[in-house]
Symmetry: C2
Subunit: 286 residues, 2 copies
């Protein structure tokens, strides 16, 4: 029996920087995977992608309070640091950065990074303040870790576009990579929030991915955006989702509204909907 | 006769980074002095301070449109790149970064850095949007140049506090140094905007510095903040200033309002007033 893989955990920015400085002094490149923990196969695929692009990989585990709205699930969000550490070690991650809220936001902290445009529709409407919280914490994490490359999942597609935008706009010296969404065998996008689903809801949930797949195929075949969106909304509702925040076909990088006719150029279909109290999001490229 | 000193000028972020990378690869530390050009002895004192703290010093010269209001002096702001380059070379600066507006803000740029609290009173009231423009461009410049230390003048004291705040909050890996205000013999704080003053206004202008000096002495002697402020306002008005945006005694680092009684702890007196169409600012520590 081989011994369990272990990973070093640092909790302060100073310790994180000391480790990264040592790597860089040795001429090693650094990849970073920012996460909110509650890790699953999707996160681990990001670590593995980072490992193909950098000599050392660090993952941050931080449930960032500023990206949750007052009525959202910050307190309930799943946390299991021991398991996260084991999974990261098993995936070959070299360092885990797990700061406290006080380390990330000391008294007096008062700076916010906001991204206009790409952060405004979709989850920007459904979750006011969410992307300012994301943009600010990701700016901090990237400046703290100073990686050469940072990997984020396409599962949070709008977030990925917001991050690409802020990295370009603030001239952060890091390359941002998106990684494809990991899915369960029945097509459900892996998400830490899937843990909230009852068995019955878990059985209904793949309807979201199926609707995206059908919509992508229809759009590829030349169908009109308005017709595709209407059909998808009906299918998701019929599958038992209690409310649908959006199901929209948009430009792949600026998330501008496409349609109502057939699409021209690269598009992304994005959706968010609730099963009971659980809000699920998913998206697919066309 | 010794040959005129020369300085290399780069205009793209890529060229700037290549130069800085070469310095860092050689084990040299880097100091940066962000300016809007129209350089005077005050700026050169920042360069000289930077030279005492870093092996190589770069200065940026960029009149940043986003920190000017619609009715402010962006178009009229003095520009003389040839003279700026000569002065920087003479002060021993190693590199001048003079990007275009298009290089700094390419199409699609949509990210803003805002600092709550310290940026809200004083010039935050008098110049809406000004400090968001400053915070955003300084974030960009520091990420572009990646200096070990950056030097800013205390002449723009509130700006210095905003920058210290954002560097701490966004975890930018740079040390921010404030440098004392350079003054003419008659006490007028050196400023690129002094070039706007007529001869008569130039003769009236030192009243601002005199009022600050008198106020600092009175506060040190235990005078009440409200009395000191009232006396200074009267003195500045009597000296011919046409409008006074503020003359206020505030906490030295958080710029919280002090008074109305005598001060306790470290304070800063800040003022902004107009002589004709020229807006002058100045400040002094107590």
């Amino acid at each position: 029996m081989s011994p369990k893989a272990e990973i070093e955990i640092v909790r302060s920015v100073a310790d994180l920087r000391a480790r990264v400085r040592a790597w860089k002094s040795a001429g090693l490149t650094v990849g970073m995977v920012p996460t909110m923990g509650a890790l699953h196969e999707g996160h681990l695929s990001l670590v593995r992608l980072a490992k193909t692009r950098a000599d050392r990989v660090l993952a941050s585990v931080f449930v960032n309070p500023t990206q949750f709205g007052p009525n959202e699930d910050f307190d309930a969000y799943p946390r299991d640091e021991g398991r996260d550490a084991e999974l990261l070690a098993g995936a070959g991650c070299d360092l885990m950065f797990a700061p406290t809220v006080a380390e990330m936001y000391p008294p007096g902290a008062s700076t916010t990074v906001t991204v206009a445009g790409v952060s405004e529709p979709l989850d920007g409407q459904a979750r006011p303040g969410h992307f300012a919280g994301v943009a600010t914490v990701v700016s901090k994490l990237l400046n703290q870790g100073q990686p050469d490359v940072a990997v984020f999942g396409e599962k949070d597609y709008q977030q990925l576009q917001v991050i690409k935008r802020l990295v370009a706009d603030l001239d952060l010296p890091v390359e941002v990579l998106g990684a494809p969404t990991a899915r369960a065998e029945d097509g459900l996008a892996l998400s830490s929030r899937n843990a909230y689903l009852s068995d019955a809801e878990r059985a209904q949930a793949p309807a979201l991915g199926r609707a995206l797949k059908a919509a992508a195929a229809a759009l590829k075949g030349g169908a009109r955006v308005d017709a595709v969106e209407a059909e998808a909304l009906a299918a998701i509702q019929a599958a038992g989702f209690s409310s649908i925040d959006y199901f929209e076909v948009r430009g792949a990088s600026d998330l501008s509204r496409l349609g109502p006719g057939p699409i021209v150029g690269e598009a992304r279909i994005l959706t968010a909907a609730r099963l009971g109290k659980t809000r699920l999001i998913d998206n697919m490229g066309v």
